[in-house]
């Protein structure tokens, strides 16, 4: 790239030997160098890359009076531009880009009465239309190319004799129309957000028809080759300095300021230009004011030449120098111009985009409500627009649910970056037991139309029996198929109706526990996880049907059976090195003074405060002992006393008590 730029500079140095007039002249001066919609002016003269701000469709036209001895209103140009990804095509029709010269030639017909009838000529130069193409290589480098068609019409009255029976002379109009194609190529590079520079050709190539009358050759539009260098320095959003210098040392320099409001901005600018073919040294000034919104730009500008612009000029000067530029030459008049540019976005404009998305947790379908409060992914999102936006994030995990899950809306200031959390909802009927790598689609939306950005990431969706190893999450297994547990437990209790009819009410929970445990223990056998993994947990219904399970499965099942009949339970998580074990605590709801009703051994229970601050007797149960209730209680108490109390497991955190509710 550097080599190419160097090559272009060398070519420009070579070409600078040729004298050319100021080709960079545009009706809007250098106002369009600021990064706003006014760049849609369809100004092919100052730059080939001036459509870079276009999002989709752009329309613009320039209209205004020209001040000669009279005031003529002209439509100077109508332009339309369309973006296709990194490509932009433009078409410009320029009915007002024209210059006409009228003059009487030295030729005349002498009539028989010796009167002289002069012959007149009219030379007309028009730029009819232009085609532009812009390509964005990267955020820094852009290129533009345009092709313009000119018409040059040389209309002259000539002496035409008629030789018949008599001879006489008539004036006849003879016209030659010559087409001219001109092509330009330009590059622009942004060195930083404050400074950019570019290089563009002047008459990179031109194809012109040759006149039949060789005398007209000298009157054709001059198309000497050259280059122009451009720069734009914008140290802040409110101030900009721009300049263009051509290889013949013609130049244009402009300053502009802009005040930005919430949805609009007002700019003011002024350019002065030096044109080698015009005098004085600073040939004129182009002041302009501009009002812009995100889709509309209205500019009022003027062109004031500092030399006297008469309605008549020397033919000799015109013959010797000709003209190079149709709209800016020594014969151009002062102008006032109204420029309106309109941007129409039929495609969603991207206001925010993802910088990154991280999956922070694999999906465990069993954990259901866990995902309502805990994000499974976080995204870094950047506001690339120039306004504060509300971002609505949503996602979908393929294979888990077809539904789009929305996360809370957040606001991001222009240019800022924010972290967005993505949540999900596990469908109630999700029943896939096999874990698989799936994909999650993440979206961000700033309007009610299409999303601004989308990204897809792989995510592990575990089977419905998978557990993340966090004991607190076993409660999701406990709560699952609660109806089945209720039915199972009530059946046991109803079989012992006589007992409960005579039992003191305060011992109800203790005996419920005892009866249910004994029934449970009779039916169960201890079986390790089928996949030899501790992360596989059976639901209570599965455990009861399979009649067995490991410590997780049995504790979950027993807890579910007890909870279903109102007996409060807690899981005790023993994490002793590599070994991990889970058993239960059961709330008897007895007060410490009533402990003697169930045991005289103080080591077989522990006292915990309830929500009201009252002490209650909890008894440990080892669900895996699967013997009589007293044995299970004894085993549970011994384990708890040893690991949780004697070895300071509770203090050190290696033993945790997790209430199911």
């Amino acid at each position: 790239m550097r080599f190419k730029l160097l090559l272009i500079l060398l070519v420009s140095f070579y070409l600078s030997k040729n004298g050319i007039a100021q080709n960079s002249f545009g009706f809007s001066g250098l106002m369009n160098s600021t990064n706003n919609i006014s760049s849609l002016y369809g100004n092919y003269e100052a730059s080939q890359i001036n459509f870079s701000q276009l999002k989709d469709w752009g329309f613009s036209f320039i209209y205004g009076p020209e001040f000669s001895s009279s005031v003529n209103l002209n439509i100077y140009s109508i332009a339309v531009e369309k973006r296709f990804s990194n490509h932009i095509l433009s078409l410009r029709y320029t009915p007002g880009y024209q210059k006409e010269f009228n003059f009487n030639t030295a030729s005349a017909i002498i009539l028989s009465d010796s009167t002289r009838q002069s012959l007149s000529s009219k030379f007309s130069y028009k730029e009819l239309f232009g085609l532009g193409y812009y390509f964005r290589f990267s955020d820094e480098l852009q290129a533009g190319f345009n092709l313009r068609y000119f018409s040059q019409e040389f209309s002259r009255e000539i002496i035409s004799p008629v030789i018949a029976d008599t001879i006489y002379l008539v004036r006849e109009n003879q016209s030659e129309k010559l087409g001219l194609w001109k092509g330009e190529l330009g590059f622009n590079y942004s060195f930083s957000q404050y400074f950019s520079a570019g290089i563009s050709s002047i008459n990179l190539f031109s194809f012109s028809e040759d006149p039949f009358d060789q005398e007209l050759e000298k009157f054709k539009l001059k198309t000497e080759k050259g280059v122009m260098l451009t720069f734009n320095f914008s140290p802040s959003r409110t101030f900009g300095l721009s300049g263009i210098i051509e290889s013949n040392k013609s130049f244009q320099i402009g300053v502009n300021g802009r005040i930005t409001f919430s949805n609009s901005s007002v700019g003011i600018g002024c350019s002065v230009f030096h044109d080698k073919t015009q005098s004085p040294f600073i040939a004129g000034v182009i002041p302009s004011v501009n009002f812009s919104t995100s889709f509309l730009s209205v500019s009022l500008s003027g062109i004031k030449y500092f030399s006297d612009r008469k309605d008549y000029f020397s033919y000799g000067d015109f013959e010797n120098n000709g003209i190079t530029n149709v709209i800016n030459n020594p014969y151009s008049f002062d102008k006032a111009l109204l420029t309106i540019a309109f941007a129409l976005n039929t495609i969603q404009e991207k206001k925010v985009e993802f910088a990154d998305v991280k999956i922070i947790e694999d999906i465990y379908p069993a954990l259901t409500e866990n995902y309502l409060n805990k994000p499974f992914a976080v995204a870094t999102v950047v506001n690339v627009s120039d306004e504060r936006v509300n971002v609505k994030p949503f996602s979908r995990i393929n294979g888990l649910s077809e539904e789009l899950i929305y996360s809370p809306i957040i606001s991001i200031n222009p240019g800022d970056t924010a972290t967005i959390s993505y949540f999900t909802v596990i469908p109630e009927n999700y029943a896939i037991t096999k874990s698989e790598i799936s994909t999650a689609d993440f979206y961000i939306l700033t309007s009610n139309e299409e999303f601004d950005d989308q990204i897809q990431k792989p995510v592990l969706v575990n089977g419905v029996n998978s557990w993340d190893g966090d004991v607190i999450n076993l409660k999701y297994f406990i709560k699952k198929s609660f109806d089945f547990s209720i039915s199972y437990s009530k059946r046991i209790l109803s079989n012992n109706k006589t007992l409960f009819d005579t039992l003191e009410n305060r011992l109800s929970d203790f005996y419920k526990t005892k009866l249910i445990y004994n029934s449970f223990a009779e039916a169960m056998v201890y079986v390790s996880d089928p996949r030899a993994s501790s992360e596989y947990v059976q639901y209570p219904e599965e455990t009861l049907k399979l009649k067995g399970g490991d410590c997780d499965d049995l504790s979950v099942c027993l807890s579910s059976l007890l909870e279903s009949v109102g007996v409060a339970t807690a899981l005790v998580d023993y994490q002793l090195g590599e070994l991990r074990h889970v058993n239960l605590l059961v709330n008897t709801k007895l007060s410490p003074s009533e402990a003697g009703l169930i045991t005289s051994n103080e080591n077989k229970y522990l006292i915990r405060k309830n929500n009201l601050g009252n002490d209650e007797i909890w008894i440990p149960l080892e669900a895996t002992s699967l013997k009589r209730f007293e044995d299970s209680w004894q085993a549970g108490a011994e384990k708890f006393n040893k690991d949780a109390l004697e070895n300071y497991g509770l203090s050190r955190g290696s033993v945790q008590i997790i209430d199911v509710y």
Partner: protein, 301 residues
């Protein structure tokens, strides 16, 4: 909001399109430095068969319509170039017309005036001969010859004839002895001899002619474009082109190409550099001219 604005913009644009139908004002160019090629064209022979003026392409007054004069003394040095062959002649011609005695054709149009001999005319001390002045004109489809009267003449060509020699860039002494009246004597400057060259070319069946000559910036310079009718000797002077004596003229192609090969077999360019003097020595109604003429003849193929 956007669509409303779009409509407003489109309506405004349409209104401006309809209202803004002017075009940029033109610039008038004036030839303040006389850089343009001066070409003033005048028709000489209106009737193609009229030979009134065409009393020979190598004689004096080739294009002088003597109907415009009462008295005319014309002193001419002529160079004729035909097929790279040059002939030089000297002619002194004088005529005095009685404008009260017009001669008309059958349609009562004046074709001339009766001439008379008012006395003796001497050019460089050579007494001019007196000879009849005959003109040919077209009358009712027939060429007729008629004598207007007598005129003065001295002619020398190819080393033969009268002793009068036209010296270029010099002066000629004229002595006029009216009867009755006092002798009048005066001199007239002669111009630098005009010697021209014509570059005739053909492009897409169109003739182009660029004339070059030794520029002298004289005040009176003109080019006569004439043609020779097929099978005849006489040349019709068709157009008079007044231009600057700057040494170069591109003959308007239309003039050239109007000369059809159907009717004409040669094209004739006569470059004329002239000095004029009116009423010398107070002689009323007398015009004296001295002129250099270079006539070049090209065959039309």
């Amino acid at each position: 909001m956007k669509s409303k604005l779009l409509i407003i913009v489109l309506i405004s644009a349409a209104a401006l399109l309809i209202g803004g139908c002017d075009k940029p004002a033109p610039t008038e160019l004036i030839d303040d430095q006389s850089v343009q090629e001066l070409v003033e064209v005048e028709v000489l022979s209106k009737e193609i068969e009229d030979e009134y003026y065409s009393n020979g392409f190598d004689t004096t007054g080739i294009t002088q319509d003597i109907r415009n004069f009462t008295g005319l003394i014309s002193l001419t040095g002529t160079r004729l170039t035909i097929k790279n062959f040059d002939i030089e002649t000297s002619t002194a011609f004088g005529i005095f017309l009685d404008r009260t005695k017009p001669i008309r054709n059958s349609e009562n149009e004046i074709i001339g005036f009766q001439s008379f001999i008012p006395g003796q005319l001497q050019i460089n001390n050579h007494i001019a001969r007196i000879a009849p002045f005959i003109i040919r004109f077209r009358d009712q489809g027939i060429n007729r010859d008629t004598t207007l009267g007598n005129h003065y003449i001295l002619f020398r060509g190819k080393g033969f004839g009268d002793p009068f020699v036209f010296n270029y860039n010099s002066s000629i002494e004229v002595q006029f002895n009216p009867q009755p009246g006092n002798q009048k004597q005066f001199t007239i400057q002669t111009p630098t001899q005009v010697i021209g060259n014509i570059n005739l070319s053909k492009k897409e069946n169109k003739l182009n002619a660029v004339l070059q000559w030794n520029a002298a910036n004289s005040r009176e310079f003109e080019i006569i474009l004439g043609a020779k009718k097929k099978g005849k000797r006489n040349v019709f002077p068709l157009f008079r082109i007044r231009t600057r004596d700057d040494g170069l003229l591109r003959i308007p192609p239309n003039l050239l190409n109007s000369i059809s090969t159907q009717n004409f077999d040669a094209i004739v360019f006569s470059l004329i550099r002239r000095v004029s003097k009116n009423e010398p020595e107070g002689i009323q109604n007398l015009t004296v001219i001295s002129q250099s003429i270079h006539t070049i003849i090209f065959d039309l193929y």
